[in-house]
């Protein structure tokens, strides 16, 4: 962009204007300030995670201190790892299942539309509008009957259902971007639908599929309602671990911060990686 903008100016022989007028610099500094203020609770949280408990609860707040990893060690000592394991199973397994079910479905809806394509798309997205409180009672009763309460695979099934509509819409929007000529060329050579999907489209789709998977992982990792209501000691996930901090006796803010940092870090990193696709996932493919 900048190269394009400067080239004509140079050729026209215009007097060299200052590239950054003072107003623009002020606005940039202002933007930085606004961004930092907005994100300051996170920065403070990260700082607090490296404090001792008595440094975390002071008035006025402590800004300079000797950083320590004590509180992280304390969280790990408080049986954090089983929760982390459950979260990873629930997140990765449900995302895999979403892709296995979603890729063929999105392909069918994008490349070989059936008569009622719009109805099907409408149905998928309408399930996202169904409040979870409207289905949790029967799901709880059914899980109890099947002895599936406190079982991480119950969460896998539910998280798959939670993310599948988003994935189908998002993947469909990526499928629609695959040039039709490539698909037709393959079909002329005698490749069937399955072969076109597997050998021709999937390699082109790889970045889109990765983005979809990342979005699904974010939602699955952060899910709380089903996790807190359907699990107990065995299958509880990371968000459920954090309920231990709702009310605590004594000083616990530094340990809380360390727990929050560890619980959020994997998904924050994933979100940063997928930030260009985030808006597409959140709007279910409607906005690119």
């Amino acid at each position: 962009m900048t190269a394009q903008a400067t080239a004509p100016a140079a050729s026209a022989g215009a007097p060299h204007r200052p590239r950054r007028p003072i107003g623009a610099i002020a606005l940039s500094v202002f933007t930085w300030l606004v961004g930092l203020v907005f994100v300051s609770p996170v920065l403070w949280l990260v700082l607090t995670a490296f404090k001792q408990e008595n440094q975390a609860a002071t008035d006025p707040p402590t800004l300079f201190f000797q950083p320590t990893l004590d509180r992280f060690a304390a969280v790990l000592g408080a049986d954090f790892l089983p929760y982390l394991g459950n979260s990873m199973i629930a997140t990765l397994a449900s995302t895999l299942l979403v892709l296995v079910l979603g890729i063929p479905a999105a392909y069918a809806l994008a490349v070989a539309p059936i008569k009622r394509t719009d109805d099907v798309l409408f149905f998928f997205i309408s399930t996202k509008m169904l409040p979870v409180v409207a289905v949790v009672v029967p799901i709880y009763v059914a899980a109890a009957h099947l002895s599936m309460l406190d079982n991480v695979w119950t969460l896998v099934v539910l998280y798959t259902a939670m993310n599948l509509p988003i994935a189908v819409w998002m993947l469909r929007s990526f499928f629609l971007e695959v040039p039709k000529a490539i698909v037709e060329a393959a079909r002329v050579e005698g490749a069937g639908l399955g072969r076109v999907l597997w050998s021709v489209m999937l390699p082109i789709m790889a970045p889109g599929i990765a983005a979809t998977a990342l979005i699904c992982m974010i939602f699955a990792w952060n899910e709380f309602f089903f996790a807190v209501n359907l699990t107990a000691a065995q299958a509880a996930t990371v968000p459920v671990f954090l309920t231990g901090f709702i009310t605590s006796e004594g000083l616990f803010v530094a340990q809380l911060s360390a727990a929050v940092v560890m619980a959020s870090l994997p998904i924050v990193v994933i979100g940063w990686t997928a930030q260009r696709q985030l808006v597409r996932g959140l709007s279910m493919g409607a906005v690119k």
């Binding site: 623009a24 609770p41 509008m129 901090f245 809380l256």
Partner: protein, 319 residues
């Protein structure tokens, strides 16, 4: 692209089964086309629609888990009880209040941030990455962060920042529970709105803006008359999608206020949760669930139409 060509070579080597099957006539071809769709469709029907039908069934029965032998058909009695339940009506009001406040404020802040981030400046990528972070943190953790670190009456950061104004030891969470919840939610949802509006700004046709400048429009005029109308669809989409997500807020209430003090900050998901998992009243909880769905459908229909319109337009633009 090199990865794309390698597997494609394999395609020509062996003709595949589905290709052979398509020869069997239009009916078979139709099923071949539908087959990839069916597993996902059946899965979604079983996991979402069956439970909802069961919810309707339960809502017509009296059933308390504490008294397992108490089941009976009661018709619409549960619904009558729901609509005369003051706490339910208060939860409805809280839900509307929290959702509307959160979505409107988050959208205004989101527009502001998006306008700032739409310019190119040094470190723009870093600032954008920082700004989306609140949306990525576990919502449960966000609630804890605001409750114990920001709003804490004695050591909290908000109290420290506001101490020059004399609001030093205000107990936000118990004195103004709804305001506290809304602030935490706004902080969490502003990045979502910002991303949508930013996508809108960046899809804007610069020709129109340049034409406006040539015609002597001021920056403010081109914003109001060219940029805002272009953003309208993105703003609508953000408001509607945001509403759908925020209406279902459970984690923030659960972690910050537990619906309290008393039932002051209880919203619908939290109240139904209480009636189901603490009150064990399956019949009434189910009836409330059905009422919530009917309410949601009305809002959702608008949202769905809009998403369809936006999506189909985007499609036309790309193809």
């Amino acid at each position: 692209m090199s990865t794309a060509t390698a597997p494609a070579e394999k395609t020509s080597e062996k003709p595949t089964a589905p290709a052979a099957r398509t020869g069997r006539g239009p009916r078979a071809a139709g099923w071949v086309r539908r087959a990839p769709l069916l597993p996902a469709l059946v899965f979604m029907l079983v996991v979402t629609q069956l439970p909802f039908l069961a919810t309707i069934f339960y809502s017509l029965r009296s059933w308390n888990l504490v008294r397992p032998d108490s089941q009976a058909w009661v018709g619409v009695a549960n619904y009558l009880a729901v609509f005369t339940d003051r706490q339910f009506l208060a939860a409805v009001a809280n839900t509307v209040l929290i959702t509307a406040a959160c979505v409107v404020v988050a959208m205004l802040l989101g527009i502001g941030l998006a306008l700032l981030l739409d310019r190119s400046f040094w470190g723009r990528g870093v600032v954008r990455t920082l700004v989306i972070t609140p949306f990525l943190i576990l919502p449960v953790a966000t609630a804890l962060l605001w409750k114990h670190i920001m709003f804490e009456p004695v050591f909290g950061l908000i109290g420290f920042v506001l101490s020059p104004l004399g609001v030093d030891t205000y107990d936000w969470v118990s004195q103004s529970p709804i305001v506290s919840v809304v602030i935490a939610l706004v902080w969490q949802w502003t990045p979502f709105m910002m991303l949508l509006v930013l996508a809108g700004l960046q899809s804007q046709d610069t020709d129109a803006l340049e034409a406006g400048q040539v015609d002597g429009a001021s920056k403010w005029q081109s914003f109001v008359w060219i940029t805002l109308p272009h953003l309208r669809r993105y703003i609508e989409l953000g408001v509607l999608l945001g509403s759908i997500y925020v209406v279902n807020t459970f984690d923030t209430i659960y972690m910050m206020t537990q619906g309290g003090p008393g039932t002051a900050s209880s919203n619908l998901p939290f109240y139904i949760y209480q009636r189901t998992f603490l009150g064990f009243d399956i019949g009434q909880s189910a009836a409330m669930g059905v009422v919530v769905v009917v309410g949601t459908i009305i809002v959702a229909m608008l949202a769905l139409r809009l998403i369809f319109r936006t999506f189909l337009n985007a499609q036309e633009a790309t193809s």
